[in-house]
């Protein structure tokens, strides 16, 4: 499902106009991004949480040349669903 369809669905569900929903969505996404970039996890009630996880630097070996390099650590955006949603989706 693409964003447009999602917006129209939310609009019908909440009774808000599509424009309003679009606006709300873009601002909420901006808020999420800001917080995540600051290293904050964001919990979404009834759905899950978006978290930033740290990946430590490690040495990697080039499979062909055997060259060893250090891949720098990075942060990864991870989604963790709420437990009951996880169980619910397991069997579909």
């Amino acid at each position: 499902m693409l964003t447009k369809e999602l917006i129209s669905r939310i609009a019908t569900a909440t009774g808000l106009s599509k424009k309003q929903v679009e606006h709300l969505m873009s601002t909420s996404n901006a808020i999420l991004r800001e917080n995540l970039m600051a290293g904050k996890a964001v919990s979404l009630q009834g759905f899950g949480a978006l978290e930033v996880k740290e990946r430590a630097p490690r040495t990697i070996v080039h499979p062909r040349t055997g060259e060893r390099t250090v891949s720098p650590g990075k942060n990864q955006l991870v989604f963790r669903p709420v437990d009951n949603l996880k169980e619910e989706l397991k069997k579909i």
Binding site: E5, V42, L44, F47, P72
Partner: protein, 371 residues
Amino acid sequence: MAEKLSWTELRRILASRAGVSEKEANTFLTALNAEIVEALKTDKQVKINGLGIFKLQAVAPRKSVNVATGEAITIEGYNKVAFVPEAGVKELIERSGEPRTEDIIPDGNTAQPEADPIKKLGSQAEEIVDILGELGQSPKEEDKPEKVQEPEAVIEPEPIKEPEPVKEPEPVFYVPQSQQTQEPEPPKKKEKKHHFLRDTLICVVILLLLLLVGYFFLRSQLSDLIDSFLPDKTQTEQVAVATDSTAAAIPAPIESPTEEELTEEQILAEFLEASGETEEAETPSDEIYEDIIAIEPMHEASRLTWMSKRFYGTKAYWPYIYDANKDHISNPSKIDVGTPIRVPKLTEAQKDTTSAAYLQLLQEAEEACKK
């Protein structure tokens, strides 16, 4: 990481930013979550612009072992929610780590992790050494660079030293093996000349060898040819011996050409004289065979089957040849070189390979091979 933006906080911030009431913001957010879950169930994928894609991924069932009992069990497949952040968002998040490393490491290092995506250990180590020199000795930093430096000292020389010695000698070893100069990078003119000389020498040697082999091959072929012509002479000789002693002068001029032929002729003549008329009368072969087409000495590379093929056009009649020479051949597969072999003339009845007589002969001959 410990920090968390709670639901209420999010709702409040959203309301103030978007210029809506908190209630509206709440309904929107709950609807958003509900719709995402719903969409995951139906479409298994939801794309949210400016954030990423939520996917429902299937995990295949797999076999495992019960650790306690050692029993084989299957873990059933299930679905899980995966989130793939948008490319731009992903990059931003990946780099977002630096502010936090800044908390741990003093100012000097902050620029460092941003600048190095993936660098070779050597260059990294150099940079670290530089930084160390600049910063002096703050205890927190030393922990990090040391870790990086240690592997550098052990590992770095390997990739640099290894590939070079392997690559260089290879062409040197390859060149002499190939006869035609296949030099990918001709190093010097002198060396090339040297190789050229060597190659020509090799070529000459090979040519000489080929000529020698060809000579021997032709010689054996020629003698074979001559032998095939011989029987006529020997037959005439045979007749001559029987009828006229003076006619013996006839084969003499023909015998002259080469020494080898002379010896062969001599053997034949001796054989004929020794077993000439008496054997013809005594051996049973004469009762069966009307006439002898040829008598030729056994060659090193010859076989009875090949002689059969040459005289009769098929290998099948070799038992007849054996039968005609039974008196002085015990094993048809082991005939001494130079042994004279009589090739009998076959009647039409004998040429029938399905006849009982032929089959019996074949059996006899084959048994004789096993002796």
